[in-house]
Symmetry: C2
Subunit: 573 residues, 2 copies
């Protein structure tokens, strides 16, 4: 809903004045609208556009060289007055006549039409082009009755480019009408919007439903359906528009428009599916745009506009323009990008290892096999523990990371890598596949540990213990956590200290490791029992403040699992 | 909520590929991110930015000349992997070293930090600059712990400009750190967001509340408060940031950022209040931006970022750049705008009128007095009638329009205007002040009627009757409604026909008018009793389809009122 306002009655006028203050490089405010703050050539046809407010960037955001010369803004969802249109046209007149562009709604048709008559009576040549792109609003046979939606931008852009190119008013009108005749749009809505100060939505869409063809002020659509996948939505929108494809058309300009609360990344996802369907239809896509071009406050939904291009329309569609919302043409001179040499993660070759080093690598791989199996088994348990404090994905992430580490270790050992290289490769793979902070921590931990090992020597107990300390230091330094923060550091510190103490006391590694793992387990259990410090229902927030972190538990589990493998290996040795 | 997706697990990657396909003029896709599609000069420092997805235009939308050379994108709200960062840095390297920019979050600090270490080991000079602008996330004494929000854009923009200007890596790092140290942001949230595929919001804000300082992933804020007015919100945000204003600063760069569902016009309204407060604080605002720069899916809320400019920072803040989301510098050469000659509604002088004409003008003014009073009295009744089908503002609009018409007629008669000029001025004023479609219709109706009158002759009965027909034709032609559409045409047609029939039968005007007004009233009553054709709860939609229109009723009331005045005038004559 619309939340930020002072006096709802002044919302549109205040928004316009704020816009003009922000974008003074493009516009200057006049009563009821904005004018370009720069001049076009004397005698250039002026493009004046407008309609109700609440649709930004329609229409003030279209003002600038190569696009519109002025925009007239009515109240929210209401046509501007005849007087405002006429007044701003007089101000925008360059002596070349005026083209008035607006969406085909009763109030706009009236006010722009009457303003045009007034201005003609004053001796200014004015033409009107109501945009009629919304295929859902009337049949193809009665296309002059169709409403104007995001096709507004397409038609105005092309008219603006024709005017910028010095075409006469007759020509600009012809080209704009031609662009309008070749522009079709189809929209869906997932949710309505609320006017400033209103307590109830102006219109709604039932939860889980999408309204096909619902207008940007809630005008009736074709029908409601259950919300579908992006691919299915792309099919639905594209097929409807392709059914009006004229013969012989092989190029389209595209605007994929979000209505307000449907966000960019959703549009980009949708675009991948739309692009595929357009390619399947053997249409070349020229200068597509996806973003917010005609909104309806915070309405949820989107529309797809296609313009069937010919050479003339393509020239104007791709011509430079410079407005707050749409810019074409380079502002900075550049040269084409260099060839990218590689899309790989760096060298996959490993330093030559000694037989001892290779044996060490295989030992690490076996450890990872056991840890991976254990983490797969513990995935649900860790997930449940994490869900108490976070988003519940810790079990999945750990399992995914360990599997990736095992895969990398398998590749590395098969390539004859030594223990240091195998562990480093395993750490990198863990970080890259597990994702999130814990994945990065584990990658860091293993990689730092690997620097104490060698590809040539056997895995000496001393190196393992030294590596543990390096791993801990690295995690603390780059991760920024200290003991008591309820992260895996809480379990890792007693583990490393226990390992060092036992090793310094001369105990063999399997014994020292088992003792250290026990200490880690005790510490991890302690974090489990910490009471939440905050009662607010903000999972991510709580995670960073006082809830137990599943990371300490999983570290202790891994330490325990690895300890069992070491003891087992010792017994078999 | 996030509605458009296929596989939620692939949402971020698919969105990135869609983005890259749309913006090929700026970027080319690589695994895990995007690279500039154009080359900077050999040896230029590369700016590589990144973080989790779900924040578009952060970070891929920042890529282009004068800004970033590459962006690395993690999963939704998750840091990109160390390997992806390192890989894309290798590809983005121009031989001048790399500056890594990212928001100060644990996962990002880790992954970017470790990637930097890996790259340094490979011989690439890499610096990291975590952005720490969010004043709500830590105290000024521990500002290095602050999170990064929309200040990301500010810091990256300045770093990008310094790199574009050929500065060395040492210099770019120094400037970026300086920019970060001088950038502060404060945000409020009105509502949370829902991850793709999730059935529940990731976090929420209680209805009617705003969460001060809530993080863009739901990290804890300072406190919740009731939602306030735009002016109060501006005060709250601005004061918090001004409390950290360094001594001697007189210029600020500004980013007013919407989080997703808080829309442009709300930001523009807020900006007017913020600009006033900054001016009161004697701060010059340099190149402000308001829009969506760091979103959080469809989270509702906004943040204000200020950078305390010095000469060096201002140079880089205002330097040209060209990315999908931010462009500075002209793409088209322009000259300053012409002086605007007038901001008035056209000439307020009237043609010289004869005494007969002036008497006619005064007669029209008296009619308008009666009609205005009647409409004021009927305002509520017409409002209630309109609310059955529309937005309930018909009574207000008619009353406002008639008052404006009366004012204009008063001015015109005082200036000695004749009947044609008085009625034309009244019509224009009605249209301009009443707003909406009915205001435009009434303006048109009166203006068309005026063309049958004269400023020189008395108001002949014949002229009044001819004017009625002109008015009807004009309304039908420009308004596009025909009888049966349940608009005022339904009452106006029987009125005009009744008037013509009675006049042709030789009846004097008051009699003819009264008969015509009766016919209009009967027709208007009939429209009242029409049952709604549609049952869907979409007020605006219903209005345009089948509900009775209050316009027919108000026309009949006006006709009746005017008839009474005419009869009364006749009796007094």
């Amino acid at each position: 809903m619309t939340t930020i306002f002072d006096d709802p009655a002044q919302f549109a006028a205040t928004a316009l004045s704020g816009f003009a203050a922000l974008y003074a490089r493009y516009v200057r405010p006049v009563r009821g609208g904005v004018l370009r703050s720069t001049s076009g050539p004397e005698g250039k046809v002026s493009i004046v556009v407008g309609g109700g407010s609440g649709h930004y960037p329609a229409f003030a955001g279209y003002v600038g060289p190569g696009l519109a010369d002025a925009a007239v803004a009515g109240d929210v969802f209401a046509s501007p007055s005849t007087a405002a249109i006429a007044r701003i046209c007089r101000q925008a007149d360059n002596g070349g006549g005026i083209l008035l562009g607006f969406g085909n709604y009763a109030g706009d048709v009236l006010n722009f039409g009457v303003a045009a008559e007034r201005l003609r009576a004053e001796g200014i040549d004015v033409r009107i082009v109501p945009v009629t792109d919304d295929v859902a609003s009337a049949s193809v046979e009665t296309s002059a009755k169709r409403r104007g939606i995001a096709g507004d931008l397409v038609v105005f852009k092309i008219a603006g480019a024709a005017a910028e190119a010095g075409r006469s008013l007759d020509e600009v009108e012809r080209i704009a009408r031609h662009a309008n005749a070749r522009t079709v749009s189809f929209g869906v809505a997932f949710g309505g919007c609320t006017l400033p100060g209103a307590t109830h939505p102006l219109f709604t869409v039932a939860s889980g439903q999408m309204a096909l063809g619902l207008g940007i002020h809630g005008e009736p659509g074709i029908r409601d359906e259950s919300i579908v996948s992006a691919s299915e939505l792309a099919r639905l929108m594209t097929d409807r528009l392709l059914s009006e494809r004229p013969a012989g058309v092989h190029r389209v300009g595209v605007v994929l428009n979000g209505l307000g609360a449907t966000k960019y990344e959703e549009l980009f996802v949708l675009w991948t599916a739309i692009a595929k369907r357009l390619a399947d239809a053997e249409l070349d896509v020229i200068a597509p745009e996806a973003g917010e071009f005609v909104t309806s406050l915070d309405m949820q939904g989107c529309s797809l506009s296609l313009i069937w291009l010919d050479d003339e329309l393509e020239t104007f569609w791709t011509a430079p323009c410079d407005s707050p919302v749409l810019r074409r043409g380079a502002a900075i001179a550049t040269s084409p990008g260099r060839d990218i040499e590689t899309d790989a993660d760096g060298p996959l070759s490993f330093p030559t290892a000694s037989p001892d080093g290779k044996r060490g690598g295989i030992c690490i791989k076996r450890l990872l096999e056991a840890v991976t199996q254990m983490l797969r088994d513990a995935e649900d348990e860790l997930g449940r523990l994490d869900a108490r404090a976070g988003d519940g994905d810790h079990g999945q992430g750990m399992s995914r990371g360990a599997s990736a580490a095992l895969d990398a270790a398998t590749v590395a050992t098969a390539a004859g890598a030594g223990s240091a290289s195998v562990l480093a490769a395993a750490g990198d793979a863990w970080a890259d596949r597990a994702g999130g902070t814990s994945g990065a921590i584990w990658g860091l931990l293993l990689r730092a540990w690997s620097t104490a090992l060698s590809d040539h020597d056997p895995i000496y107990d001393k190196a393992v213990v030294a590596g543990a300390r390096l791993a801990l230091d690295s995690v603390c330094r780059l991760g920024g956590a200290k003991i008591g923060d309820k992260t895996l550091v809480d379990a890792f510190v007693p583990f490393v200290e226990g390992l060092e103490t036992a090793a310094n006391a001369g105990k063999p590694l399997p014994i020292a490791w088992a003792e250290a793992a026990s200490a880690a387990k005790v510490a991890a259990e302690a974090t489990k029992n910490l009471a939440p410090r905050l009662g607010r229902a903000r999972p991510l927030a709580e995670k960073s403040i006082g809830h137990p972190d599943a990371g300490a538990v999983s570290l202790a589990m891994i330490a325990g699992c690895a300890g069992t493998v070491l003891v087992h290996a010792e017994e078999h040795a």
